[in-house]
């Protein structure tokens, strides 16, 4: 969990993924499309990946990846990200966290 928090606070937009996960790929693409450059951490490449995955589940992230943090705050997985994007909140959150400017 500490590792998660540590990594999540390092950049305005942070996404935890797994290298084989295509839904993670979709989520990353959406962020790139919005002009954000999220920090991407692949849990299967992390030394404590298993622990981190459990910590994410503990946060309520289902499925555990992709797990999105904006401004250090846990946002959710793909469903949450898409819902927030549809009502315009996602963009605002990114602007507030200075991940994008418009």
């Amino acid at each position: 969990m500490d590792r998660i928090r540590e990594l999540a606070s390092k950049k305005a937009a942070v996404i935890f993924t797994k290298s084989s996960c295509c839904m993670c790929y979709s989520t990353k693409q959406l962020f790139y499309e919005l002009g954000a450059s999220p920090a991407v951490h692949e849990l299967d490449k992390e030394a404590r990946g298993r622990e981190m995955e459990l910590a994410l589940r503990g946060l309520g992230c289902n499925p555990s990846v992709p797990a999105v943090f904006i401004g250090g705050v846990f946002v959710g997985s793909t469903t949450d990200v898409i819902s927030l994007h549809v009502d315009g909140s996602l963009k605002q959150m990114l602007i507030d966290a200075k991940a994008i400017w418009f």
């Binding site: 996960c21 790929y25 898409i82 994007h85 549809v86 009502d87």
Partner: protein, 326 residues
């Protein structure tokens, strides 16, 4: 004296009683002099009536038992047919089980559910059309519009269950008409396209509304693109996995490799359902958001326009299917 009425195992007491009495009479054991004559006649008549009643009762009972036995045979037959049909994947709902949608009983089950949903949807839209044309008040319109939106939630839920049972059937779009299938995206319609066609139908819109609808259309488009790219990545990944399992299949190492790659490919196929779920989630969210941007009257017009559009597509499909061929 031969008794011609059909006998069952349980003959009544009236039978025996009356036989004894007749025997007694014929043996002269009962005096039939004047003073007892009318009483005897009454008794005789009563006994005759009893006899008749008993006979009728026996007949009724026999008929009832015969009916029960033939029903039982029919029931066994029906149960066997049901079992056979279930095994073939044909959907049959259990008695008193109307809330359940599919239970993993196959593509046909979903097609039936969808047809039922569509019929109800059209009924609701016609109700809305009637209300709009008769200049109903906002209150009434809102009730009907909210009902239609809630009803959309039903089909998304049903699709979700169906995708768990048979993702390829949903992806195939075979449950939609041909022309609709032409525009199929991840098992359904493209919200961004729908919004494009609505913008023209919904005038007059305020500046704020126009901006919001345009933003919604753009967001929807972006989400659709992201999901499409994810699907492409999935296809790519699947192809690579299957290609990696190619090669000479003689050594045990290669067989293990084959099994491993197949297992991986299976895992990837499993993620398809997630993509359909996200696509449907996007559709649902877009409809809700659209409704929140518009006034009740505008939402009503939007729903009517959407219905008109899809009706045209379905009509086009019918024309196409009925076209004369060489």
């Amino acid at each position: 004296m031969a008794d011609v009425s059909p006998r069952t195992d349980t003959s009544t007491d009236a039978d025996t009683e009356d036989k004894n009495l007749r025997n007694a009479l014929s043996q002269g054991m009962i005096a039939s002099d004047g003073s007892d004559k009318s009483r005897d006649q009454k008794t005789l008549r009563r006994l005759a009536q009893n006899r008749e009643a008993a006979r009728k009762s026996r007949l009724r009972k026999k008929a009832y038992v015969q009916q029960l036995e033939s029903s039982r045979m029919k029931l066994t037959q029906l149960e066997q047919e049901l079992q056979r049909a279930r095994q073939q994947g044909i959907f049959i709902s259990s008695s008193g089980d109307q809330a359940q949608s599919m239970g993993g009983n196959g593509a046909l089950a979903f097609d039936v559910e969808y047809a039922r949903w569509l019929e109800e949807h059209n009924r609701r839209v016609n109700e809305l059309r009637g209300a709009v044309n008769s200049h109903a008040g906002d209150g009434e319109l809102r009730i009907i519009v909210d009902g239609i939106l809630a009803h959309y939630d039903d089909i998304f839920r049903i699709k979700g269950d169906a995708a768990k049972a048979d993702v390829f059937h949903i992806l195939s779009g075979m449950w939609k008409t041909p022309a609709e299938r032409c525009f199929l995206w991840l098992g359904g319609f493209r919200s961004s396209e729908l919004l494009k066609l609505l913008i023209n139908q919904l005038e007059p819109l305020t500046e704020q509304q126009l901006m919001s609808i345009n933003n919604l259309q753009q967001s929807s488009q972006q989400a659709e693109d992201a999901l499409s790219q994810g699907m492409e990545a999935l296809q790519q990944s699947l192809a690579e996995t299957l290609a990696a399992s190619l090669g000479p299949s003689t050594s045990t190492g290669n067989v293990a490799n084959y099994m491993g790659q197949m297992a991986m490919a299976m895992g990837k196929l499993g993620t398809l359902e997630g993509f359909i779920r996200q696509a449907d989630n996007l559709r649902q969210q877009t409809l809700q958001r659209m409704h929140s941007i518009l006034t009740t009257r505008q939402s009503a017009r939007a729903l009517l326009a959407i219905n008109d559009y899809f009706s045209r597509l379905r009509a086009l499909s019918s024309l196409w299917l009925a076209r004369p061929r060489e």
